[in-house]
């Protein structure tokens, strides 16, 4: 159980590392939003599942699972709000050629 949880946590952190590299590499808004959503959902959820596995069945695991539920609901909504606000305020995806954003 210990080894499994460690492997899962390491996988989650590797997801986050790739996300961080991607944010530094890509310059356009849409690609960055895509990568941020990956970090928020895949990386965070994997790490939290690993932490829950490590502690077995206890009251602590219940709280971690509650946190997991909140993460699963809130993080996609944040990405949705960012993209929708950019769309409403007139950001054009066609002209998104990867300039540095202001």
């Amino acid at each position: 159980m210990e080894l499994t949880s460690n492997i899962i946590i390491i996988i989650g952190t590797v997801f986050m590392l790739f996300g961080a590299i991607g944010i530094l590499k890509f310059r356009s808004f849409s690609l960055r939003v895509l990568i941020i959503s990956k970090i928020d959902t895949v990386g965070a959820v994997t790490v939290v599942i690993g932490v829950a596995l490590r502690h077995g069945i206890s009251f602590f695991t219940l709280r971690v699972l509650l946190l997991l539920g909140i993460l699963l609901v809130v993080n996609p909504m944040v990405t949705h709000i960012i993209t929708r606000t950019a769309h409403v305020s007139g950001y054009n995806l066609e002209e998104d050629r990867g300039q540095d954003d202001t």
């Binding site: 909140i70 609901v73 809130v74 909504m77 949705h80 709000i81 929708r84 606000t85 409403v88 202001t102």
Partner: protein, 322 residues
């Protein structure tokens, strides 16, 4: 146990965040850096062994960022912050001005820093009061959280004056901020929230409210307390604003409520602590009485803080618009 390398990594990032704020020119990015800086500060507090302060700092950082962003939203010109500084060539700038603007403040700061580093205690502080507080607080004030016992028992005077300061601040903001009439508040329309946003925020708001109440009620047993719980309850009202787009909250009635709650908390503290009511009780009823006192005081402080921050948020958002 707390791993020290993590604390040092967090502190290094913390100093780097301050340097980033110093170097950044655009105001919106300064706000983002400030939010990250306050999150790092909260982590550092937690690793230094004080979860109460960490929780308060996390909530406060979020609220401060919200206030700054609302301020930008009111005045678009603040976002850009005037004309960009014209790039004057280096040889045109006289040397004396450069000395005056950069070198002299740097020297001044360096001298002050050297003095502070020389006279800093370096971790060799003898804390006489610590052992006394840690051994006595369970009998004197009650509860299991030494921090709550100190700010509700031994040092309740500080807490009352802090509460008074917050009341005065809310009064000042409510009266200093610009307000013509409620008609002008409806000129600019906000973006209507989408279906996803409404559904998720409506679900999350209940969780936030429950968490705030949990922090207040369990403030004397675990980490948490009136102030942190009150901030979370204020966050619940911010969520309600996001969903329903309420613009005509009765601000002055809330102000009255806050004053009444503050006055009653002062009365309770005077009767219980200053008049020494705990000494006249029989010993077998004392723990229950102490628990009830701490829960009631935490509840009062939490209600007052929740009212105050709700007023501040609504005041910044609805009025002060041109």
């Amino acid at each position: 146990m707390i791993p020290n390398p993590m604390l040092y990594a967090i502190l290094a990032l913390w100093v780097f965040g301050a340097v980033c704020i110093l170097r950044e020119r655009r105001n919106v990015r300064v706000m983002i850096y400030l939010f990250i800086f306050s999150l790092l500060t909260s982590l550092a507090y937690f690793l230094l062994g004080s979860p109460d302060t960490a929780m308060a700092e996390a909530a406060i950082g979020a609220f401060t960022t919200i206030f700054f962003i609302v301020c930008f939203e009111k005045y678009e010109a603040l976002k850009v912050d005037g004309p960009q500084p014209e790039e004057s060539p280096a040889e045109k700038r006289p040397v004396g001005a450069w000395l005056k603007r950069v070198v002299a403040p740097l020297l001044f700061t360096a001298v002050i820093g050297a003095l502070m580093l020389y006279f800093s205690p370096g971790g060799e502080v003898v804390d006489h009061l610590k052992s006394q507080y840690l051994t006595q607080f369970a009998q004197d004030v009650g509860g299991e959280n030494a921090v709550t016992a100190i700010y509700l028992g031994y040092r309740v005077y500080d807490t009352l004056f802090e509460a008074l300061l917050l009341v005065v601040t809310v009064l000042a903001v409510a009266h200093m901020s610009y307000s013509t009439s409620l008609q002008s508040t409806k000129q600019k329309r906000y973006l209507k929230p989408s279906v996803v946003e409404i559904a998720v925020v409506r679900a999350i708001a209940v969780v936030i409210l429950l968490f705030g109440v949990y922090l207040i009620v369990n403030g004397h047993i675990t980490a948490g307390g009136g102030f942190q719980g009150g901030l979370f309850i204020a966050a619940f009202f911010v969520c309600r604003f996001l969903i329903h787009n309420i613009h005509d909250l009765p601000v002055y009635k809330l102000l009255r409520l806050e004053e009444v709650v503050f006055a009653s908390s002062v009365l309770i503290a005077v009767f219980v602590i200053f008049l020494g009511m705990t000494y006249h009780l029989p010993a077998e009823h004392l723990p229950m009485f102490q628990g009830v006192y701490m829960v009631i005081m935490n509840f009062m402080i939490g209600m007052k803080v929740a009212c105050g921050f709700t007023i501040l948020f609504y005041r910044y958002v609805t009025i002060e618009r041109r």
